[in-house]
């Protein structure tokens, strides 16, 4: 679970990325994200391509913020039991690692974490699992839609390495919820607008703190 970014040797990674101008051996051997960070840092690509990838990565970062906040809040609520509790802990750690990776990748260009209100779904077993299934299936579809738009190869390699992990999470949460983990032979991509519509419809992202609620405040962030 330890992320390679923590002990990233920036100079070494940069040199390697430069030498290979693509996917280095280190990238294949689990340094996927580190390789992407290096490639991004040297930004050898056209400004337009860089901006394109920044937009895609920031879009992914919002989804990772949402997932990591969701699992972290669920873990802290102490309302989950058994395998769901264990899954929230493990998946939460991975989603937090994804957030950190994208933040490091984007540096100053990383957008800030929005505020969330998960409306009670982190405080009971069944609503938690149902929401987790929805989040993970959505993440799979979103990455699938965005990955082919990435232009820097190491960034693409990182995105696909995360995409399949989200698919594993989706199957895991589906199994715990009691629905078939893999329904179709092909998973469909969701375009950005569709993902944004679905996220917007949840009401989980709140634009300002609610000061008029009669309910006790939820965890945020």
């Amino acid at each position: 679970m330890d992320f390679l970014l923590d002990d990233l040797d920036a100079d070494g990674a940069l040199r390697e990325a430069g030498e290979n101008a693509g996917i280095s051996r280190a990238t294949f051997l689990g340094g996927t994200i580190a390789g992407a960070v290096a490639a991004f840092a040297i930004a050898p690509t056209a400004e337009a391509a860089g901006n394109n990838d920044v937009a895609v990565l920031n879009f992914a970062l919002v989804l990772e913020y949402m997932q990591s906040s969701f699992y972290t809040e669920a873990e802290r609520s102490k309302a989950l039991r058994g395998k769901a509790e264990d899954a929230a802990k493990r998946v939460g750690a991975v989603e937090r690692a994804h957030v950190k990776a994208f933040q490091d990748l984007l540096g100053r260009k990383a957008i800030k974490r929005p505020m969330f209100n998960f409306r009670g779904t982190t405080e009971a077993q069944r609503p938690f699992l149902k929401t987790a299934v929805a989040f993970e299936d959505l993440a799979v579809a979103a990455y699938k839609g965005q990955a082919p738009r990435l232009r820097a190869k190491p960034v693409l390699a990182a995105a696909v390495a995360i995409h399949s992990v989200e698919a594993r999470h989706a199957a895991w949460m589906r199994y715990l919820f009691g629905v078939q983990p893999a329904v179709n032979a092909f998973d469909d991509a969701s375009p950005k607008a569709e993902v944004q519509r679905v996220v917007g419809a949840t009401g989980f992202i709140v634009t300002r703190p609610r000061t008029t609620s009669r309910r006790r405040p939820r965890y945020t962030g």
Binding site: M1, F28, R151, K153, V160, H163, A167, A182, A185, D188
Partner: protein
Amino acid sequence: MPVQVPPEDATRAEVFRRAIVSGGAIVGGAVAWGLPQLTAAASKEQDARVLNLVLALEYTEEAFYAEALKRGGLRRALRDYAEIVLEHEKAHVAFLKQALGAAAEPAPRFDFGDKTQDGEAFAAAALTLEDLAVATYNGQAVNLTPASLKAAARIVSVEGRHAAWIRSIVGDVPATDATDPAVKEDETRQKLSDFGWKAG
């Protein structure tokens, strides 16, 4: 359970085949997708090579699940899993064969040894094979044209779901790492050979 290739997929496969095999008008659409200089290594010839590699994987999965269902004495959750996943792998084989057209390599023979003899051996082999599928697709992503990448991405996540599903059934942690590994063609070919792939 919608497990056959739906008409929509058949159409996509056909579009895809024309794009990669005969280099038809569809290629224009693929080029419009991304900056050509950054996907310089990708080409329709390379797409065909990569698709034959993943077809080899899908052939192996299809044959493995079919044999396990015949001789493995699988019961309950394992049988349900194998039956559903077999249909997925059949659909993947059909899709890739259609995409490759005449360039598709034929199915080889297999000798899975004792991997299909009982539920325990089957489960251990299945999760190895599904992990290999994910790592292979992930390793090839950067070699594909955008059009082919979009198609491959629709399959790889299903393989990832299978890998997590079989782990759930046997009580393993379904996903431990933040990123999935990627393997290169040589390693995939070697591991398929170790798994039971026999030429011709």
